[in-house]
């Protein structure tokens, strides 16, 4: 056996037998690919901790440390956290005192609007999905298709009637307006996703619960819901990312007090007339990454089960 090991295998590239842990070679290869994908994010994070003057320097500075002498000094910058401070408060007019930029409010808005609308969509959507899955109507598939069509039109197509309607009912610029819009926007996705999770559950278990004396509500809360926690987590995270990044609706429907971070960021770039402050922008983006990163990180175990649901025999 041992004599037959090829060079590739010595390097850790085991023949794919589909069994057991990958060798070091494969693991390293995967790490390199993952690093390439991560590069833009790393670029932004490094940009955020650079002194403003080095943002567009030639040659570019690429690392905050010399990595034990590996990187020549000319490519190294000394990290600073000043940019994060200027996100919230900075000097706006030459010679003036630092002013509040309003980004504390915008971050609060983003978090409030995204989380409330996604949670609302999750509650309504999960109930609707259970209904579609367990108590099908006549023409069930048609209704589901109609729900799906709400996601087929590009946002730019529907935005004008939405703006007009919001004006009439005085919803534009309010929290309620943007939250309702995002909830509707997330519902289609939530219903379809949660329905597929409910469809996968064993009906016998629910029959058993009924025979054991459970009402429909108890079957839903005590038996079905605990089985689709992974699905709830996955749906929540996907919905959150979609809503968190949404720009067009927020741009046209939010007011000065309900502005979300993507919209405010756009305005921070285009205003001022002193050219784009890249390090400031990178600092906003880095801060903007953190909430979604944390949520995804804490739900990662559920996510893995959520996205592979139904593909693995239980």
């Amino acid at each position: 056996m041992a004599e037959n090991i090829s060079i590739l295998e010595r390097l850790g590239f085991r023949k794919a037998s589909g069994v057991g842990e990958a060798g070091w070679g494969h693991t390293l290869f995967a790490a390199v690919v993952a690093f390439i994908y991560f590069l833009p994010v790393l670029f932004i994070i490094f940009m955020a901790i650079k002194p403003q003057t080095l943002a567009l320097s030639v040659p570019p500075t690429i690392s905050p440390t010399t990595l034990f002498g590996l990187i020549p000094d000319e490519y190294v910058f000394s990290p600073t956290f000043e940019n994060f401070g200027s996100v919230f408060s900075r000097v706006m007019t030459p010679g003036g005192a630092p002013e509040n930029t309003g980004f504390d409010l915008y971050f609060f808005n983003s978090i409030l609007i995204a989380s409330v609308s996604v949670l609302l969509a999750l509650v309504i959507g999960t109930l609707a999905a259970f209904g579609f899955s367990r108590y099908p109507l006549k023409g069930n598939d048609t209704y589901l298709f109609i729900i799906l069509t709400t996601r087929m039109l590009p946002a730019i197509v529907v935005i004008i009637p939405v703006i007009l309607m919001f004006r009439v009912v005085h919803l534009s610029g309010s929290y309620l307006g943007i939250i309702l819009l995002y909830t509707a926007f997330n519902l289609a996705f939530t219903i379809w996703m949660m329905k597929s999770f409910f469809d996968e559950l064993s009906l016998d278990v629910e029959d058993a619960a009924r025979i054991d004396g459970s009402s429909g509500f108890r079957v839903f809360f005590k038996i079905c819901l605990p089985q689709v926690i992974a699905g709830l987590a996955a749906t929540f995270v996907f919905g959150l990312i979609l809503t968190w990044n949404e720009f067009l609706f927020a741009l046209l429907l939010s007011g000065p007090d309900t502005r979300t971070v993507p919209v405010a960021m756009n305005q921070a770039v285009s205003s001022g007339g002193r050219g784009t402050d890249w390090t400031l922008l990178a600092a906003i983006e880095t801060l903007f990454l953190i909430p979604v990163f944390l949520v995804t990180f804490f739900l990662q175990n559920h996510l893995l089960r959520g996205v592979t649901f139904g593909t693995v025999k239980r």
């Binding site: 058993a208 025979i211 054991d212 004396g213």
Partner: protein, 362 residues
């Protein structure tokens, strides 16, 4: 009183009739098995009793009360599912306690009831584990434990042993029978395994294509099958069904030509009513006495295949007219392949079936 009565119950799915005019009554303390090949409607019948399927027509009466319109949660029954249907998000103990939810018991009383049942079903060691992490036999016992924790009107079992391996199946069969004896409730067990039905049931209802063909004690359905289907379905090895020429019937002795051999056999007096001609007879493989000599009234055949089964030996013999006859003889009886046999059907062991497949009996 814990009884179940089904009256002319019919279940249609679109054009397909899953169960047709099923009549069955199960007394208190009685165990009835619904037995039949897959797709014969036995599980549908059980689900109608449970309220998981609505009857298209006919009545379901449990404990003297018509239950057609009641949902399953109001019928006060307990059911064990084929795939156990354990609650995956609850521990073993919580699974057992689940049916007690509506009885408004105190926490300590629930605990003692759960403990009590767990002891009977040998589950005390795994009460805190999740159903996904216990052995197959434990899952089965948990499914039964959950059913017996309450004091329901009746018990329903859907293929309760089909997922267990042979050894476990035998021990569970005994355990379930023992538990049921102590409860004296009306019980319906669905199975496709005749041995399970024969060993566990007081009475067996044999179904085919949605129709209950015969209801009787294990002895009755074995000894007096009502038609060709029941005759061939019950008993292993299968009953020999032979097409014979019926000749003169005098009193209770008939002349027939079985597989080319003219034989004079005692039959039921009702056979006199049949016209001479082709009829089907059934003879169980264990109802032959092979004799060495070509005595009169024996069927000539040649041993073709010999399968030792332990205590007995199964012999496939080829009759003079090419018909296949299965025969079981004691292990001591040594028969070689190619040996000429002379088979003598035992008195009273010949079942005669008319043109319509029904047994001819007085």
């Amino acid at each position: 009183m814990s009884t179940i009565e089904i009256k002319k119950a019919t279940k249609r799915f679109g054009d397909f009739v899953a169960v047709r005019d099923a009549d069955l009554s199960v007394g208190a303390g009685e165990v009835v098995c619904l037995l039949g090949p897959s797709g014969c409607g036995k599980t549908t019948t059980l689900r109608m009793i449970a309220g998981l399927e609505r009857t298209t027509s006919g009545d379901i009466i449990i404990a003297g009360q018509r239950m057609n319109e009641l949902p399953p949660e109001k019928r006060d029954i307990a059911m064990v599912f084929q795939f156990y249907a354990l609650y995956p998000a609850l521990t073993v103990g919580e699974n057992i306690a689940m049916p007690l939810h509506y009885e408004k018991l105190s926490k300590s009383e629930i605990d003692s009831r759960v403990m009590n049942v767990a002891k009977i079903m040998h589950l005390t060691d795994v009460l805190d584990r999740m159903p996904g992490h216990i052995a197959e036999g434990e899952k089965q016992r948990l499914a039964v434990a959950r059913a017996i924790v309450r004091d329901p009107n009746c018990f329903l079992f859907d293929e309760p042993l089909s997922r267990l391996d042979v050894e476990l199946r035998h021990s569970m069969r005994g355990q379930i029978k023992e538990v049921l004896q102590g409860l004296s409730k009306a019980t319906v067990i669905v199975t496709h395994d005749q041995l399970e039905a024969l060993t566990m049931a007081h009475r067996i209802a044999i179904m085919k294509d949605g129709v209950i063909e015969q209801v009787g004690t294990p002895h009755e359905v074995f000894a007096k099958p009502i038609n060709v289907f029941v005759a061939s379905f019950i008993g292993t090895p299968q009953m020999n069904l032979l097409e014979v020429d019926l000749g003169q019937v005098e009193g209770d002795v008939a002349m027939m030509s079985i597989a080319g051999s003219p034989v004079k056999v005692p039959v039921d007096p009702a056979v006199r009513g049949l016209k001479p001609g082709k009829v089907t007879i059934g003879v169980r493989p264990r109802a032959f006495a092979p004799s060495q000599d070509a005595t009169p009234d024996t069927i000539g055949a040649v041993a073709e295949l010999i399968e030792p089964m332990g205590a007995e030996t199964l012999i496939h013999a080829r009759a003079a007219n090419g018909g296949d006859i299965r025969m079981v003889v004691p292990r001591e009886k040594k028969i070689k392949v190619g040996e000429a046999l002379h088979l003598l059907p035992e008195t009273g062991q010949i079942h005669v079936f008319g043109d319509d497949g029904k047994a001819v009996r007085s």
